[in-house]
Symmetry: C2
Subunit: 325 residues, 2 copies
């Protein structure tokens, strides 16, 4: 029987998402389970194994048709040994032999990559990247992550930390970052970064603006509130969005000058602000990007939402040459 199915798994701190896809990248089934991080996360891998085995039976899918499993995971991956460490939001302590356990429990070859990389590859393959070979991805959420696809493959670099766009310096000696450095993109373009900028600009602002009132009043301000107020025309909120657009446009331009992609895709919760944010990023990108780069690189919003990781995980399973005895 021809192998023509892929299993993509997106392991997150609260939910584990699963999808069964054709080798062309069409999702045929998807489901999710809650991530049980109790007992040092020791239930996570067994739960994934059970869920896959159960659903293959449920869907009456012949196991012989499965090419393999790809999984996106938090933490740092040892690609050679298939182990994961430093996945703090999974409560794992020490190195976890994730690949070996998953292969033993399912009988399928397993390929791992980190979650931001999987989302990048998913968007490149089946989302806003239109399956073009050179696509970069930036995700704006609680933090800022990234993934780089070059000639159709993920870039890992020497120690797997390539694509750490959130820690590119956009403001030397700027805001203190949790990584220990100052002025990282993450401090200006993540959900908390946007709020930090709003607080700083509000303090210096003397006019009247709803955003300033809220901050002075001690109301809870989120990045969504900042963008909503900006869309309603609030002057101060627009100043904040301009700043966010400046930093993201600068980072995108320097990324494009370095890697010459055809598309840079912006995803994650903050990107829900949509074209209102993207247009500001693009205006700054046009200003900062080298002309030969500017001519070929388009900025786009992510299209796959929560499914990006599962698509990308399936894609790494497809690209992998891994077999098991």
């Amino acid at each position: 029987m021809a192998k023509d199915k892929l299993i993509g798994v997106d392991l997150g701190g609260t939910t584990i998402k699963f999808a069964i896809l054709t080798s062309e990248g069409e999702i045929q089934q998807k489901w999710s389970i809650r991530t049980n991080i109790l007992d040092e996360g020791s239930h996570i891998v067994p739960d994934i194994i059970d869920s896959i085995n159960h659903h293959l039976d449920l869907f009456q899918l012949s196991r012989e048709r499965v090419i393999g499993i790809g999984m996106g995971t938090p933490g740092t991956i040892d690609f050679e040994n298939g182990t994961v460490r430093s996945a703090y939001n999974l409560n794992w302590s020490g190195e976890q032999a994730v690949r070996a356990q998953l292969e033993a429990g399912t009988g399928f070859p397993v390929t791992l990559d980190n979650d931001a990389n999987c989302a990048a590859l998913g968007e490149q393959w089946r989302g806003a990247g239109d399956n073009e070979p050179n696509v970069d991805f930036i995700t704006l959420g609680t933090g800022v992550g990234g993934g780089l696809v070059l000639d159709g493959k993920l870039v890992h670099g020497a120690a797997g930390s390539a694509g750490e766009i959130g820690h590119v310096i956009v403001e030397p000696d700027g805001y203190q970052c949790t990584c220990g450095n100052k002025g990282c993109l993450e401090q200006y373009a993540s959900a908390t970064g946007v709020v930090h900028l709003a607080q700083d600009l509000a303090e210096a602002y003397v006019g009247s603006a709803r955003l300033k009132e809220m901050i002075d009043n001690g109301d809870e301000v989120t990045s969504k509130i900042v963008f909503d107020l900006a869309k309603e025309g609030d002057f101060l909120a627009n100043e904040v969005v301009d700043k966010v657009g400046h930093y993201l446009g600068l980072a995108c331009a320097n990324l494009a000058n370095t890697l010459n992609p055809t598309k840079i895709i912006i995803g994650g919760g903050v990107s829900a602000a949509g074209s209102f944010l993207l247009d500001r990023i693009d205006a700054n990108f046009q200003k900062f990007a080298f002309k030969p780069t500017r001519d070929v690189t388009e900025l786009r919003l992510a299209e796959l939402g929560n499914d990006a990781g599962a698509y990308g995980a399936a894609s790494i399973a497809l690209q992998s040459n891994r077999t098991i005895a």
Copy 2:
């Protein structure tokens, strides 16, 4: 007879350098000829053909032992068609069928890449890169160029302009660049950029310093003079070198955060300032680089000098699968 020789050619605006190497990358013979840019550069390719054929006879090297020719060239390369355009310093007008002519004239498969990329690959393979797979290269000369080696291969991006590190923005709204943008690295770290910084800092400087005297006196100041004065302890010249180190350290850190190389190699004429400059770059690199990156990336000076291009050209010939009928 086993094929075990490579021919590397480094085509420049004033000199064409040639080398015959073993497939392990040992140079066995090297020579050079003057670049004749007369008559719209129409003599260049025939001169290269004649010189290769002549030297193979001279060295009595069997043509059957030659794997192929690699050549680094200025201009923009169409990798599919093997043509070159916009090589202004060669006086070429329009698109030149360089690969087809070289292959017809020598009988060997020919692979082209741009000159900065060849220098990068040469340093990665046989120079300061110690043949590690993930190495980035920045060359500081009249301009600032770059080349990126990832998993042992050059990165070209979608339109061949990947690695344009000279046009990464290091000072938003900074010095006007010839590319049309403002604040490109090239304007702060090229030979002319260093002098520009010296002039600006001299103007604002009120103390006494030999560098300031020279500039106020209208003496010709070069980047070499700036570095020499700095080494002698001239206060102003050291301020200039600090600035150059800041911008290069920032650019190297952002490059490392993006690509996670094990080495970033600094070459070109300005790098003749040696460890005096490298140490300043590194101090800023340590400040700006993301920790997981900092832990694996070492900054080094280029080691191959003028031979880097020929080594790299030979390397692309070795990597190429190109054959000719």
